[in-house]
Symmetry: C2
Subunit: 265 residues, 2 copies
Amino acid sequence: MKKALWVIKIGGNVIDNPNQLALFLHDFAQLEGGKILIHGGGKIATQMAAQLGIETQMVNGRRITDGEMLNVVTMVYGGLVNKNIVARLQANGVNAIGMTGADANAIKAVKRPVKEVDFGFVGDLKEDSVNQEILSKLIESGLIPVFSALTHNGHGQLLNTNADTIASALAVGLSSIYETKLIYCFEKNGVLKDVNNDNSVIQNINPSFFEELTKEGIIADGMLPKLQNAFDAISKGVKEVYIGNAAKLSDIHQGDNFGTCLSLN
Amino acid sequence: MKKALWVIKIGGNVIDNPNQLALFLHDFAQLEGGKILIHGGGKIATQMAAQLGIETQMVNGRRITDGEMLNVVTMVYGGLVNKNIVARLQANGVNAIGMTGADANAIKAVKRPVKEVDFGFVGDLKEDSVNQEILSKLIESGLIPVFSALTHNGHGQLLNTNADTIASALAVGLSSIYETKLIYCFEKNGVLKDVNNDNSVIQNINPSFFEELTKEGIIADGMLPKLQNAFDAISKGVKEVYIGNAAKLSDIHQGDNFGTCLSLN
């Protein structure tokens, strides 16, 4: 039987809130077995760019990563945020090792091709982007990789890469070695039946129920692509995907239901 | 017989010069066997602090690392400089992994005690600061650790630590497992007989010759503590210490003399 591996992604809202981050890191530390953390960057990168007089380039409402912004992201995500999380996990007894995709050649990406928009130094992942061999060596050495949302192209160029995408690629890529469970932490308690009622969490969703919920319009807007990506990861080997509140991660190791669990069953 | 391990430190002057850095990384890649790189930060941290309106605090001509400056150092050394070096080493075929002392709990320091001066978030190393076990696991996995000048105290606090000191501690700490050779790269060709003649490199210095050179005043000023520290590292197990020009690192793998070699013989 494969060993379990948690792949957990926290978003910027957790990073931006010191108390929430402290609680999350404490709960993350309690989680038994192999685990990987992926973190977004929060507002600090945007604030830092503003302080440095760097304007955030937007095209059609989407952010462009030019050279200056890539440097800011590398400083803030890869340095400030990542290393402080690592130091604090160490204080929680977790032997964390902070990484980007460039480190140990863990995740190799390709610069997003220029079509209507040139997104700049943004990396897209491929099927074979994740270096399973080196990551499993690190994990088997007792280390807990902590990834910031940066990859590289193998030719010396760092690339900004969506943290959700990295989390999914890691969970899929490592599913041949581990029984991977992917957890997306966000600000809500899970997938909600009633978007205005934070207690209306749907506990389990399988593919047919997903179809039903989509038809009924219960899953819509931003949640739709999130769940589509989750089921895509499941179809590629991930055992379960959880979507829930970062503040309630302790539910998982207490055996309670954490947010919404997506699986084939 | 122990395997050889190169522990190589480059200073800020190499970091600040893109051509020199590219040449150095190329030469570093050619060096056979296990190796570790430690880099200083260069002028970028000072420039970044100035851009952010953070004043460098000085007491008696020595820099103080307050909270704001620690954040800048973490961003620039631990993020921008470190991750770009790693990405570029990967492009040179080196499986580099960027680290601070917090990562993998590799180097644990203590905050410098406050005496006449409070240096702020500055870390001093102890005899047992270096985590030999995890570092040898990483090295035996084929990874090349690349350290920025940051450590942690094990209680969640990152600490700014002198890169020369980190290099020496790594070479000493790993000498029980590897035959460590410590290389300090700087802007001169080595220890010079005549400070105005860059070709007057003294090729070999042993402890008695060192005493002689010191008495004659040939070794003085900033070079004296550098060499004292080098011989201290040798007395604690390091096989050889080289001091030479970063631009000439290729001399080592070409079998030529690189700078000045300090050893017991």
